[in-house]
């Protein structure tokens, strides 16, 4: 494995189970999975809708508290990390930057909020610096989300996530709602930021090409379970071992009349 060996895991999960609903209506979205994310790596989680990939991120980020299992982040038991310390360690970027930015707040006010919550001073300088780092000049500071493009909004969302200088970023389909030319810019930006700041990324996506471009290793999810764990080199070379992954890889190459007829459902 590319990232195996040396780097100790910054996130590790054992028996992570996430259930929605109760009694007869209970649905297990994630069914007792184990994984470890090496510090400083980009870890991909791939799967189709309903596979549980975003649910894992929501549990890791604290958006969903209904989970069981052991999760360790940066050497501490997840449940023992205080709220403030936790959000200075880990932040999240969502798929739709329009939905994740407050429409009636300026970029300045959006970026100032985490600083206010955490009692951090030098706000103006920090905001200017955060914008610069995501490639936006200070003229953006006092604009509203509707006055900037989708790609610029995603840059603001990344700036907000990084302004507390976390070690870990959770990225939930960060470029899926962007045009390909803008996607390229955001992927380049995320890659450069990770190198410059030695960040760890957990990247959830349905796009295998994005995984190849960004990640060191990945897990493939289907119906709440990990069906395959692989290094990105294996993905690039098409060395898949589970038929589900093979089918996903085949489908990602485009339409094929014969292949479309032979698609299987995996339980």
């Amino acid at each position: 494995m590319t990232a195996g060996g040396a780097a100790p895991p910054i996130i590790s999960a054992r028996g992570l189970t996430i259930t929605f609903g109760h009694g007869a209506d209970a649905v297990q979205a994630v069914r007792g999975i184990d994984f470890a994310v090496p510090a400083g790596s980009c870890f991909g989680i791939v799967g189709e809708s309903g596979s549980g990939k975003s649910t894992i991120l929501r549990a890791l980020s604290g958006l969903n508290r209904e989970w069981t299992g052991e999760v360790t982040i940066d050497g501490h038991d997840r449940s023992h990390i205080g709220r403030r310390a936790f959000y200075r360690l880990l932040q999240m970027v969502f798929q739709d930057p329009y939905g994740s930015l407050h429409p009636k707040r300026t970029i300045d006010s959006t970026l100032a909020e985490p600083l206010l919550i955490h009692g951090i001073g030098d706000r103006a300088e920090r905001i200017e610096k955060a914008l610069r780092e995501v490639g936006l000049d200070s003229s953006f500071r006092f604009r509203y989300p509707h006055q900037i493009s989708g790609g610029q909004r995603q840059r603001v969302a990344i700036a907000r996530a990084l302004i507390l200088e976390p070690k870990i970023l959770l990225l939930d389909e960060p470029t899926s709602s962007l045009d390909v030319s803008v996607q390229a810019e955001i992927l380049n930006l995320l890659d450069a930021l990770r190198r410059a700041r030695d960040l760890t990324y957990v990247l959830v996506t349905h796009n295998l090409a994005v995984v190849s471009q960004m990640c060191d290793q990945l897990i493939v999810m289907n119906r709440g379970r990990i069906v395959e764990e692989m290094a990105v080199d294996a993905l690039m070379a098409g060395r898949t071992s589970h038929p589900y992954t093979t089918q996903l890889l085949q489908a990602s190459r485009g339409y094929d009349r014969q292949a479309a007829r032979e698609l299987k459902t995996f339980d």
Partner: protein, 291 residues
């Protein structure tokens, strides 16, 4: 009508909307012809690809304005038709499938009844006959339990099933042309392939024409016969789908280069530098793609 006649002829189609500072030109002089084939229209958001599809359907409402030197569907001049005549064509001979079935289906009406209704609006059919026809269509889009889906409400169906039901509704009158606007973008890749398989069979078995609007270059290259690439309301390049990767327009090349690839990582993904010349330059036509 001879079968050699094109199914659709579009010449100099333009669509504009009034904006704060004068007219906004959404589509600027688009021309193409369509046979019984799969024609892809590719472009980024704001390129005018969806507006082109909606203009052909006659779905642009005032204050939007549509002009075209020629707009001929199956030998009939759409420009000369009354709104009433066009309405009888829409949903019958000329149909459109949108991206998200959640917003296209009536949430408080059973799926099958919606399909049967779509048929009865255009054809004098008894209730029972329309019902049988709707079930047949659900079978045609490979729904395993058509009776159950007939009785279901839209919220009881998955995205893939909902989209199949939409396609079934659009097929019920045996249309000659279907315009599909990102019909599979909201679907998982395996479901996407199944839906494309259905559309593919419909074109080859029924001789239907298909305009497939998408932002996904690789998907269009693998699925369609020919591709129009749109930028800022204009067609900048026309090519055979199999030859998309030999495209010559710098915009098309830029889009292709910006795509990450499963097989290899690039140090940095090339990004697009937009050239003002793209707004006015000539359309590049790949040999054999003009027909």
């Amino acid at each position: 009508m001879a079968d050699t006649q094109p199914l659709l002829e579009v010449e100099d189609l333009s669509v504009r909307y009034p904006g704060h500072k004068g007219w906004v030109e959404a589509v600027r002089g688009v021309s193409f012809t369509l046979g019984r084939e799969k024609l892809g229209i590719v472009g980024e958001s704001g390129s005018g690809k969806s507006t082109t599809g909606r203009a052909i359907m006659g779905l642009i409402r005032p204050p939007g304005e549509v002009t075209a030197r020629r707009l001929v569907f199956d030998g009939r001049d759409l420009n000369a038709m009354s709104e009433r005549q066009k309405r009888s064509l829409r949903g019958d001979q000329l149909t459109m499938v949108m991206q998200d079935p959640k917003f296209s289906l009536n949430p408080v009406m059973r799926v099958g009844e919606q399909i049967a209704e779509a048929f009865r609006i255009h054809h004098a059919a008894a209730r029972g006959a329309a019902r049988r026809r709707a079930i047949e269509m659900l079978e045609a889009v490979r729904i395993r339990d058509p009776e159950r889906v007939y009785r279901a409400y839209p919220h009881e169906l998955s995205g893939g099933m909902g989209q199949r039901a939409m396609i079934a509704m659009m097929l019920v009158s045996n249309p000659r042309l279907m315009i599909a606007d990102e019909p599979t973008s909201a679907l998982d890749v395996t479901v996407q392939m199944q839906v494309l398989g259905i559309l593919d069979d419909l074109v080859s078995e029924r001789g239907m024409g298909l305009i497939f609007i998408s932002h996904d270059l690789n998907l269009v290259a693998s699925f369609c016969d020919r591709i129009l690439i749109m930028y800022a309301g204009r067609v900048v390049e026309i090519c055979r789908a199999a030859r998309l990767h030999e495209a010559r327009h710098p915009y098309t090349r830029g889009l292709l280069d910006a795509l990450p690839r499963v097989e290899a990582r690039q140090e940095r993904l090339p990004t697009l530098t937009r050239d003002p010349a793209w707004l006015t330059g000539a359309t590049i036509v790949d040999e054999g793609a003009e027909a």
